[in-house]
Symmetry: C2
DNA sequence: GGCGAAATTGGTAACGTTTCCAAAAATTCT
DNA sequence: AGAATTTTTGGAAACGTTACCAATTTCGCC
């Protein structure tokens, strides 16, 4: 691999001059610059990012961690971050969890990977980290944003949606369609986000005078498989219900698939409402009504805040994100007398 | 950020000794090592990857490029690569395209990003690169693997499936179920992979005595939206058909969603067969019959071959990957008299 | 207790860049 | 033409690490 020294030698100029042409900083006469450029071309020279980052300390990279590569939730967020970063002349480096096993440990390992690479800032999409974990990071922690998770000690570095409100919205949608007998497929009980939306959902049903203790709730794993299996379990149980709330769209789609193969009409017999309003909801059969969380906005504003911290810019940043219901075809008014 | 010098000073040892403890190479007495370890802990020292990579030249990273973050095709492949790399003590760095615009240019830019970071090897998932592009890489090209794309000049570095055979399999499945009036939703006409599977499909129909020139083919974009729109366009056209071949599962799912909302029974009125057999096919409604491409194996063997090149190991590598049909619920025997 | 061998240790020279400073060359002005 | 100014240039020092070599310490043995 050719180095800047090779380039300088071939072009017959000094090291400093070559560096100036390559980095574009400082003045070089037009014809010297041209000679250097020809040498670069000739040698197929590419600056070494490692060598470059060493004297300056600036890597022009933002490190992002996501818990897994499966499912349709994390990658669109990654996509938003990537696009915004590139639009601002910065790069993205990603660390991944495996999606199973100890989520907190994986997040810390991923973060370590990113720190070793000397990123200018860090963006973590994980709800597994604790306040202590962040404290243990020391000074590193100042250029860090948490997406989809809120921690009191660094609340201004956290960007997320109000899931309690999101849960209430789901309940309101079902109540509006006169449903009173309702079942729930929840996500991981360890996920605060999940708990918040279930609590909001139950609170609203409670307000409507429904005995929430009798509502069947199955904890699942946010996957379509989980949704399928849970829907099957619900049907197999003696519970009767006319509507089902799924804590994310993937489980909703899994449930839809189960109902279709079991010959249970949606929304004829059972209405299904999902959560997140990801792309999956748009093209399921039937198309899935879902609580829309403006993840695009959440991620975008998180990135922008971080960009402000790292590169001393001053982009406007929003911190409140309102959920809403995206009506599609999977929720209908309850059939008479059911 | 603490450096190895800070650690050495605090532990009261020389630079070399600290380095030996950290890297684990060379011998250090037990109690000195312990003092160094305490200093590391105390200072929250993390070795700088950039500084580390410079004297040795080994980055312990494999660079991977994928054309986009959308859809359910690329990320599972990324997941396989990641898992296998970690299992071998190596890391993954990923560059992403945007999914629209000039795919070839984006792939070259992504590769450049990876090369600048001095990866030990490169894994490109892109069918946009030409032989010339590879040639322009010079010596870099030797530690490179192409996934999902074949180039004659470096055929031993390419890992892909036989899509012509895959296309034939899709046709056989439909013929077996007595379908004779068939429509096709294809992917990008510029994708060789796509063209191969359509050609294989048509060839097989031709063998069965079907006039392939009369088969309606709509070129789309591999997305569910594309599938939905194309299905709608097909229904709106005067063509009558009992079966539909979609060049990937995402378009298949989009088509399924359209048929459901249009009140067209699948597989009652129209059978649909997808391609790739990704996770999407498993949980659509109805579950999508699809041509299974063993992408898991393709990717795994590509990684292993690359690992052999980069780290002088000798893992067994397979190069032939057989497609098959995964029967689910979206294809049925053609209704009598249709 | 002293000798030789082995283990441990400290420090210098890389690695490929950027950033500076001083020197040289080009340009402007009188 | 020469002085003053500006532009351009070359090279040393630094960034944080590893690899090597030489020096020192430790250990085993007679």
């Amino acid at each position: 691999m050719a180095t800047i020294n090779d380039v300088a030698r071939l072009a017959g100029v000094g090291l400093g001059t070559a560096s100036r042409v390559i980095s574009g900083k400082g003045s070089v006469s037009a014809k010297t610059a041209e000679r250097v450029r020809r040498a670069i071309e000739e040698l197929k020279y590419r600056p070494s990012h490692a060598a470059r980052t060493l004297p300056t300390g600036a890597s022009h990279m933002i490190g992002v961690y996501i818990p897994m590569l499966k499912g349709s939730f994390y990658t669109p967020i990654l996509n938003i971050i990537h696009t915004e970063l590139r639009a601002n002349g910065q790069n993205m480096v990603v660390a991944f969890g495996s999606g199973n096993g100890d989520a907190r440990k994986q997040a810390m390992e991923g973060l370590e990977f990113l720190i070793e690479r000397g990123c200018d800032g860090y963006l973590l999409v994980s709800d597994a980290l604790t306040e202590d974990d962040i404290a243990a990071l020391g000074t590193q922690a100042s250029r860090l944003v948490l997406l989809n998770h809120s921690l009191n000690s660094i609340h201004n570095q956290c960007f997320s949606a109000d899931h309690h409100a999101g849960g209430r919205l789901a309940a309101q949608a079902l109540l509006e369609m006169k449903h009173r007998r309702i079942a729930v497929i929840a996500g991981f009980a360890t996920s605060r986000d999940n708990v918040a939306r279930i609590e909001g959902f139950m609170a609203e049903l409670g307000n409507a005078g429904i005995d929430t203790s009798s509502i069947p709730v199955i904890d699942s794993d946010f996957s379509p498989e989980g949704g399928w299996n849970s829907a099957a379990a619900l049907i197999a149980s003696k519970h009767k219900f006319t509507a089902l709330f799924c804590a994310n769209d993937e489980m909703g789609v899994g449930a839809l698939s189960y109902f279709q193969q079991a010959g249970i009409a949606v929304p004829g017999k059972i209405s299904v409402i999902g959560y997140d309003d990801t792309a999956t909801a748009e093209y399921s059969a039937p198309r899935l009504t879902s609580v829309h969380i403006p993840w695009y906005d959440v991620a975008l504003n998180g990135v922008r805040w971080l960009l402000n911290q790292c590169y001393e810019t001053n982009k406007p940043v929003k911190r409140k994100f309102a959920a809403s219901v995206t009506w599609r075809a999977s929720v209908a008014r309850v059939a008479n007398g059911k």
